[in-house]
């Protein structure tokens, strides 16, 4: 194999080694962050047990995002009546009960 080809392969090996080092460093960092995140979640779960609120504080003034589970389905629209409908599917938890059976009843005249 000519020397210029060997030089090219050597350069590729150096670049590949650098990339491998970076990838391994990121994998180790990711593992450390994952373990730290798990420990923090366990520690912060105490706040959920105390308050009973498990929703993430992604927003405090858009109630359908702050507590989507406990907000009525129309909360997004009521906070900004002229705004676009935001997260219409994710924020809805339907009522369950006998209403549907009751409302399906029909009486002939």
């Amino acid at each position: 194999m000519p020397s210029f080809a060997r030089d090219r392969l050597r350069a590729l090996a150096v670049v590949a080694s650098c990339v491998a080092v970076i990838v391994v460093a990121i994998a180790l960092d990711a593992r450390a962050r994952t373990l730290r995140g798990r420990a923090l979640r366990e520690q912060n779960a105490a706040i959920v047990r105390v308050t009973g609120l498990s929703d993430l504080a992604l927003s405090t003034s858009s109630t359908w995002l702050r507590h989507p589970s406990l907000a009525p389905a129309s909360a997004g629209a009521s906070d900004a009546p002229l705004g676009l409908d935001v997260d219409p599917a994710g924020a809805v938890i339907a009522r369950r009960g006998h209403e549907r059976a009751i409302e399906l009843q029909r009486q002939a005249p």
Binding site: G37, G52, L56, S59, L65
Partner: protein
């Protein structure tokens, strides 16, 4: 794969360095955008699922005219006798608009904060979420006035002083950054909730598998209520994050298509020099598959470099910098925003699928022009 082919591909890469660097950078930007969405949404999903697992078995709220209304505390006595119900707790919580912040904070009552290593809260004492405390410039021991609406008929809001018992750890900001935890008396005062009313009931069910049956019994016992179980809560978060991540990814698809179009345009127009190069290779005895292999290696190396660069940047963007380019799309409107500190929770298979969806079409379109040129008679290519 022979080393000679690899060496040739490296030489070809260097000869077309400008074009290859431009394409690799374009690829890196697209991978950065898609991978950031994946990293962030998966991190938030893992966090919300972990917290949802600690949520109460059932939450009972009352709907009046389609809106959540206050429940009657006396109704707890109608839920308590249902089999498998271990406890029923009326909970007082809600939003309080702070004019000084121009934002809502979440006031929540707690009967016991001992699990947070705190002594029981006295009237007027509060644990502040780190973001509210930072926004108001509060430290433990400070007293802050809050204007409270009063249903007693006074026209002007009444100032109420709240003492900062302590500030919750900043690491809890994504969960509790906007919370103000107080005792029940203070919560009633701040939110103007009468003593015979509460925001909702928290029902503890054991065994948890009985939740759906208990839920149906509660609806039977208390007409007009909505019962939210822990599983629905988890599904609700999952749907929300799926919808948001899907929407964001959908907006990024044109960027991917633009990159592929650019790559196609750049790669299909083989220059005279490249045609001559392929002609020389064929003339000295390279087979069509050798030419294609060299071309695929060149495209693969460019794609690998671009993808790794994009992934590294996405990792730094999402987990080290807190996704500053993405956070505004994930967060709603508010003056009190937690820092987006999330831990990696992405499944490697999902990451590989993402890379495959971007890199495979790229490698595919780079082979087509080489295959077309490699099938032409070398004599024609050299003329």
């Amino acid at each position: 794969m022979s080393p000679a082919l690899l060496a040739y591909a490296l030489g070809a890469m260097r000869r077309r360095a400008g074009r290859n660097v431009a394409i690799a950078l374009g690829l890196a930007v697209v991978v950065l955008a898609f991978a950031t969405v994946l990293f962030t949404s998966e991190g938030l999903r893992a966090m919300s699922q972990a917290y949802a697992a600690e949520a109460p078995s059932l939450t009972v709220e009352r709907l009046v005219a389609g809106r959540a209304s206050l429940v009657d505390v006396a109704d707890a006595a109608r839920i308590a006798p249902i089999p498998s119900v271990r406890s029923v707790t009326p909970r007082v919580w809600g939003y309080l608009y702070l004019a000084a912040l121009e934002a809502n904070v979440t006031i929540v009552s707690s009967r016991s904060v001992t699990t947070l290593e705190q002594a029981p809260l006295e009237d007027g004492d509060a644990l502040f979420g780190s973001d509210v405390a930072r926004a108001l410039g509060l430290r433990a021991g400070d007293r802050v006035a809050v204007s409270v609406a009063n249903s007693s008929g006074d026209e002007v809001p009444v100032p109420r002083f709240v003492r900062v018992r302590s500030v919750l750890d900043p690491s809890s900001a994504l969960l509790a950054g906007d919370l103000v935890v107080v005792n029940e008396t203070t919560a009633r005062e701040l939110l103007d909730v009468p003593t015979d009313r509460a925001t909702d009931f928290v029902v503890d069910v054991f065994p948890p598998e009985e939740s759906s049956i208990v839920s149906a019994d509660i609806v039977d016992a208390l007409s007009g209520t909505r019962v939210i179980d822990r599983e629905s809560l988890g599904r609700s978060f999952e749907l929300t994050f799926d919808a948001r991540a899907g929407l964001l990814s959908a907006t990024l698809v044109p960027a991917l298509l633009a990159l592929l179009l650019l790559a196609w345009e750049r790669l299909t127009g083989l220059s005279d020099e490249e045609r001559r190069e392929i002609g020389v290779l064929k003339a000295i005895g390279w087979s069509t598959s050798d030419v294609l292999s060299a071309r695929l290696l060149e495209a693969g190396l460019v794609a690998a470099f671009g993808s790794v660069l994009g992934l590294v940047l996405a990792y730094l963007h999402a987990f080290v910098l807190g996704a500053p380019l993405l956070a505004p799309a994930l967060f709603g409107w508010s003056n009190v925003r937690p820092a987006l500190v999330i831990a990696p929770a992405t499944d490697p298979v999902e990451l590989l699928m993402l890379l495959a969806a971007i890199v495979v079409p790229f490698a595919g379109i780079s082979i087509v022009p080489a295959w077309r040129a490699a099938n032409v008679d070398p004599d024609r290519l050299l003329r």
